[in-house]
């Protein structure tokens, strides 16, 4: 077993929030004690709904935010202890693909400038002939026509822009790509093109992905390991197929059952677990288990005791002391068929 490429330990990010001049000072615990690791060439997904802290987690891994507590180790080295120069070198190895291909590309730059700018910053491929060769390969890999190079982002559709964003992320041959909802702004037929591209690139370039998403269908297609977040915490993590077939946390179970399936014959047979209410405000997370006000397996202890992640199976962790011991979930909309 090789060493993890990315290791996150007890990571926390709290933001100061205040309701007004005289209001009490409060903190939003966007990320509140998250640990996981991503192996080389693994695609690791962080799944959750709006406000669960998944995007903040991505920013912490990219060193775009300073953690309140905890460590991020990349290739075994602590990112917090690095000098600016070291950190800059490291950034070449961790690149990002953003959700919105409209706002993440500079509208005044040509496609060529956008893709080659990282080389100028990091002083790579200075020889024009070599640069042209690498660029041609990169464009080819990402499915961008050479004729697009002198054009500007506004001339392209969302799918083509996302290809440019991907090419930019790959320009420095990174080891890890943080992809924050890279396909959620795209139409389904284009989404499929980009997902296939991400899969091909991973194989060819031996990439690892930290894939941040709210969409379980997309994640199942692309990722081998999944962590589910709720209110700043990981509530369950497992190998992808295991998680889909045997969720051990009530939140995961409800999330999976809420996803509509593109097949009416399955939809007719399926029962939904409807969660009541909304996600509570991260300003005032519930006591005990943060999921308890919406949970169908609630026991008294859940209101007071905050459960930690515990191993419930091979490489399968869940922060729920109740569900794994229920032997029958007969009415649950289990995903396994």
């Amino acid at each position: 077993m090789s060493a993890p490429l990315l290791e996150v330990r007890g990571l926390k990010k709290h933001f100061a929030a205040s309701g007004g001049m005289f209001a009490e000072k409060t903190t939003v615990k966007a990320v509140d004690g998250v640990s996981f690791s991503v192996m080389p060439q693994e695609s690791f997904a962080v799944v959750g709904e709006s406000g669960c802290g998944k995007t903040t987690l991505g920013k912490l891994v990219l060193a775009l935010e300073k953690p309140t507590d905890g460590t991020v180790l990349f290739d075994g080295r602590d990112m917090a202890s690095m000098s600016r120069r070291e950190l800059r070198r490291l950034r070449a190895d961790i690149q990002v693909i953003f959700q919105d291909p409209y706002s993440s590309l500079n509208p005044r730059m040509t496609v060529s400038d956008i893709i080659t700018e990282p080389w100028i910053i990091h002083g790579r491929h200075k020889d024009p002939a070599a640069r042209a060769r690498v660029l041609a390969k990169l464009l080819d890999d990402c499915g961008i026509a050479k004729a697009y190079l002198p054009r500007h982002p506004h001339e392209f559709s969302g799918g083509q822009r996302q290809r440019v964003g991907i090419a930019r992320a790959l320009a420095l041959d990174p080891k890890l790509i943080v992809a924050d909802e890279p396909v959620s702004a795209l139409d389904v037929s284009i989404q499929a093109q980009i997902l296939n591209l991400l899969k091909d690139l991973q194989k060819e370039r031996k990439l690892s992905y930290l894939f941040i998403s709210h969409d379980f269908s997309v994640v199942r297609h692309l990722c081998t390991r999944i962590a589910v977040m709720y209110l700043g915490r990981i509530v369950e993590s497992a190998d992808s197929e295991v998680l889909f077939n045997d969720p051990q946390h009530p939140y995961t179970e409800a999330l999976l059952s809420a996803v509509p399936v593109p097949d009416p014959s399955i939809e007719k047979r399926r029962k939904r677990i409807l969660l009541t209410g909304d996600v509570p405000s991260p300003l005032k997370p519930p006591s005990g288990c943060r999921f308890h006000p919406r949970c169908r397996y609630l026991v008294d202890a859940c209101r007071t005791e905050d459960p930690a992640l515990a191993e419930t199976g091979a490489a399968h962790f869940a922060a729920c002391p109740v569900l794994p011991f229920k032997d029958k979930r007969s009415d649950a909309a289990l995903v396994a068929l």
Binding site: V188, I190, N196, R220, L275
Partner: protein, 338 residues
């Protein structure tokens, strides 16, 4: 059963001095009472413009309805005067939108926005309307409606705002509800709540729903019948089960194959190559040809008409010509489409 809403050959174009964009270019369907018809398509397929055309909500100019009929209980909405339309819009035909924050008025209390429609259409007093607003908010599942009715939209979460929108739409017990991407802006657990609410209210009020969506999963869950749109036109129309089990049009096949499902892990998704066409550009033949893996020679030259198939289905692909019900019928269809 007579359809409550019939759209016949509707064409909505946007005309500017530079060019004409054919946003909707010939859509027809029948909506039966109490049923849900899903109009599915990707961005720019014309699904939202078609909905706004029904209620006369498009700015004209630049929009122009160049052809077609929209029959509501047998009367053509397009021929109605503004005052007549006013009586139907929000009363007999109501609409909910994708973004509940931008479609609610931020400076009016939620209760006032619900009561407004009741006062206008049902000639109730303010007090009666307010009581009805409380009642409706409770019905759409807002806890403590008698207090929350005084809230402003920003005090509601996204899911609650969409519930409030539904309460406004239901205030006059409409015959038809047009829902334009009602759950797209919401998280999946909230989406499940809202879809469930729409289904139960549909049963209670016996409403017909036109559901506009790009989400194939939502179609599978909600629809009785489906119209698939591409480049401003319906390419296929079928009952939901048949559409998924036996899609006829290559675009429908491609669309269904490209959707990832939580039920199976596919090694590769069958993506449709290329991009949707520019609706302002002239084309010959079938607009899907550049992306079609199954095109015939004639597809490039001749624009296919709508072929009527068995089981009340329709597809406008030349490959379906041999299955079409009758030649005479086919010509009648082609004529009507023109």
């Amino acid at each position: 059963m007579d359809p409550v809403l019939s759209v016949r050959g509707l064409r909505t174009h946007f005309v500017t001095p530079e060019r004409t964009v054919k946003a909707v270019d010939g859509i027809s369907y029948d909506l039966l009472p109490g049923k849900t018809l899903a109009v599915v398509g990707e961005s720019g397929s014309g699904k939202s413009v078609h909905a706004l055309s029904i209620l006369g909500l498009l700015p004209m100019p630049p929009a122009e309805i160049v052809a077609g009929e929209i029959l509501f209980q047998g009367r053509d909405l397009l021929k109605m005067r503004a005052a007549q339309m006013q009586e139907i819009r929000g009363n007999r035909i109501a609409m909910i939108f994708q973004e509940p924050m931008t479609s609610l008025n931020p400076v009016l209390r939620v209760g006032e926005q619900i009561a407004e429609a009741v006062v206008l259409h049902q000639k109730k007093t303010q007090k009666e309307a307010w009581a009805k607003a409380v009642d409706l908010l409770g019905k759409v599942g807002i806890p403590h409606p008698e207090e929350r009715v005084n809230d402003f939209p920003h005090q509601f979460s996204g899911g609650m705002r969409q519930r409030a929108m539904i309460a406004i739409a239901l205030s006059c017990e409409p015959d038809v509800l047009i829902a334009d991407e009602p759950t797209t802006a919401l998280d999946v657990t909230i989406q499940a709540q809202i879809l469930e609410l729409m289904k139960s209210l549909q049963r209670e009020y016996k409403m017909a729903i036109v559901l506009i969506t790009h989400n194939i999963g939502v179609v599978a869950e909600m629809a009785d019948d489906v119209v698939v749109m591409y480049a401003g036109r319906p390419v296929e129309r079928a009952p939901v089960g048949e559409l998924f089990s036996d899609p006829k049009h290559p675009y429908t096949k491609g669309l269904l194959a490209s959707v990832p499902s939580i039920y199976e892990r596919k090694e590769r998704l069958a993506a449709i190559p290329g991009q949707p066409p520019d609706l302002g550009a002239a084309y010959e033949g079938c607009p899907f040809v550049p992306r079609c893996g199954d095109a015939l020679e004639r597809c490039r030259a001749d624009d296919p008409p709508e072929f009527r198939l068995k089981g009340g289905r329709m597809s406008n692909c030349w490959r379906c010509e041999s299955e079409a019900e009758s030649r005479a019928h086919r010509f009648a269809q082609a004529e009507a489409a023109r």
